[in-house]
């Protein structure tokens, strides 16, 4: 593969995440830049493990469909590929299929006939255990070595793809590529790398553009940027001329959601931006040179979601001045009363359940003691009951209900009623979804753990 005739590759990154909302006029602005591909991600781990565990999107179907319709329209108009990474927030197999069905629905409604590639990177537990037994699984700090029991507890496991599976889909002539879990920079860097752009600038451009126009004066992932790769570096500017990219903002983006501001480990190597220079080319355009890529043995990061504990919550608002004068004393008394009540009413072993009280307006976020002399105006008190089954969590919450809503601060006081916000007073919240894996798996080939399906929308069976 070679770079295009003018030796540059332009990629339109329309959004920080598919479905966050788009402005239709951005597509016209973007296509005026004559891009060679459209690339974006549709998720990340930021919002927690629920989306991997449940196989659902964080953004609702209508929002995703509206944005996808605009992007598929742009794909048709320009005749350029559309690459989507980390489908439906988590990139599990069901997340990919959910996105595929929306794409097919839009194609049917509009008479589009794209060639579609699906890239699946969900992993079977048996295969992860086999890799573990072969010594190909390595922990990342702060977690220790992987325990087989943890693998067994996972509801779903995905491996983070690099750009190579996208290359395979592009080689096959795909118009729309729907990827499972993928490194955010990788899906944006993929097309430029396929066209022969140097790895350092391609990965760096991918990192800066992964949040759409957030690193520009647009300041939002609802708007897009154009990144242009050449043999020595990359340039970036917002698609809408009303906004600008500034050198400081582009340089600062490596700080965002990233542990190390200089180095970013990715499948197959590490991006190093230590020696980068950021040039303000025009009011709205920044050029970046000096991005380096250090190839390393190919690894894929594993992400797993567990959900073996369940929660029921209750909430009250408290304006009682006696309680507000002594929040910690109230908390401690309540914690003891609820614990005793849970054991006496249900007979449950105290080792298997947990009751946590969060006093919002006092220390609900920190859990730490506020400065001496602090007096809250109100307290929102949330009770979180965690147990091995939803039934037990619910049973404990119901048993505690009269105490949680009516416990006096001191014996002898009239029975208070704290501010109930709803009835019934408890909410069965469902499983506690938690990320359990922070490990990488070594592979001999970037496609080893990836399954690719190719088909034409016009010939697809109705979903």
């Amino acid at each position: 593969m070679t770079m295009t005739e003018d030796r540059t590759v332009r990629v339109y990154v329309p959004q920080g995440s598919l479905g966050v909302g788009m402005f239709a006029e951005e597509v016209d602005h973007a296509l005026a830049h004559d891009p060679h591909a459209i690339a974006l991600d549709a998720g990340s781990t930021d919002a927690g493990a629920a989306y991997l565990a449940q196989g659902v999107s964080k953004n609702d179907r209508g929002s995703v469909k509206r944005d996808l319709a605009l992007l598929m329209g742009a794909q048709q108009r320009a005749g350029i590929p559309l690459l989507i990474g980390t489908a439906a927030q988590a990139g599990g197999d069901r997340n990919v299929d959910w996105t595929r069905d929306i794409v097919l629905e839009i194609a049917r409604e509009r008479g589009y006939e794209p060639k579609i590639a699906l890239l699946y990177s969900e992993q079977q537990k048996a295969l992860v255990k086999q890799k573990l037994a072969e010594g190909r699984v390595t922990n990342l700090p702060p977690l220790g070595d992987l325990d087989v029991a943890v693998v067994d507890r996972c509801l779903h496991i995905v491996a983070l793809m690099g750009p190579e599976p996208y290359h395979a889909a592009l080689e096959a002539g795909s118009d729309i590529i729907i990827g499972g879990r993928t490194s955010d920079p990788a899906v944006i860097a993929a097309f430029a790398l396929w066209k022969g752009a140097p790895a350092g600038p391609a990965w760096h451009a991918g990192k800066v553009a992964e949040c759409g126009a957030q690193a520009t004066t647009a300041g939002t992932g609802q708007r897009g940027v154009i990144v242009e790769l050449d043999g020595e570096g990359f340039e970036i500017e917002p698609v809408d001329p009303a906004f600008q990219a500034h050198a400081h903002g582009v340089a600062s983006h490596l700080l965002y959601e990233n542990k190390n501001p200089w180095r970013l480990t990715e499948p197959g190597g590490t991006l190093d931006v230590t020696g980068c220079e950021y040039h303000q080319l025009t009011d709205s355009r920044v050029r970046v040179t000096g991005s380096r890529w250090e190839p390393q043995p190919y690894t894929m990061k594993l992400e797993g979601a567990t959900g073996h504990l369940f929660q029921t919550i209750m909430l009250v608002g408290i304006a009682d001045p006696d309680v507000l004068a002594e929040p910690q004393a109230f908390h401690d008394k309540m914690a003891g009363v609820l614990q005793d009540r849970a054991v006496s009413a249900t007979g449950a072993d105290p080792e298997i359940f947990d009751i946590s009280l969060r006093m919002y307006g006092w220390n609900g976020v920190s859990g730490m003691a506020p400065p001496a002399g602090s007096v809250p105006l109100e307290i929102g008190l949330m009770c979180v009951v965690t147990a091995p089954t939803q039934e037990l969590a619910s049973e404990i919450a119901k048993a505690c209900n009269p105490y949680f809503f009516h416990m006096p601060l001191r014996a002898g006081m009239e029975l208070p009623s704290y501010g109930w916000p709803f009835t019934p007073g408890h909410v069965d919240r469902g499983p506690v979804y938690e990320f359990a894996l922070n490990h990488v798996v070594g592979v001999d080939d970037p496609m080893e753990l990836v399954r690719m399906e190719l088909f034409e929308a016009a010939k697809a069976e109705v979903a």
Binding site: P142, A251, K259, N260, D354, V432, E434, F435, N438
Partner: protein, 108 residues
């Protein structure tokens, strides 16, 4: 967090302080200093050492990484979460509020 009224605090020398998860197991905090002078004076001062940060967040100082970024006048602080994102005791899933406990931290 026992700032006396005369002490210079983090919020006095930063134009912005923010925090966010960096993957499900790490928190990262960016202290964006307002002037070069303040960056030079405070970014690598003992008041912002791993020991001092560890005391605020109850984290082993050995697990804390400090990255001074002079080009951007930023001190980046990264440390492991006390429990993974979304666990039983979760109070700040994005770790987006963790910066708040640094704002009144005295620097001298």
């Amino acid at each position: 967090m026992t700032a006396t009224s005369g002490a210079t605090r983090v919020k006095d020398v930063c134009r912005q302080v923010r925090s966010k998860v960096a993957g499900p197991f790490w928190v990262t905090i960016d202290l964006m200093f307002d002037t070069q002078e303040n960056y030079d004076q405070y970014a690598e001062s003992p008041a912002l050492s791993a020991e001092a940060i560890g005391a605020i967040y109850r984290i082993d100082p050995a697990a804390i990484s400090l990255y001074p970024v002079p080009q951007l006048r930023v001190l980046k602080i990264s440390y492991p979460r006390r429990s993974p994102q979304g666990g039983v005791e979760e109070r700040d899933l994005h770790s987006g509020q963790q910066y708040a406990y640094l704002l009144d931290h005295p620097l001298d």
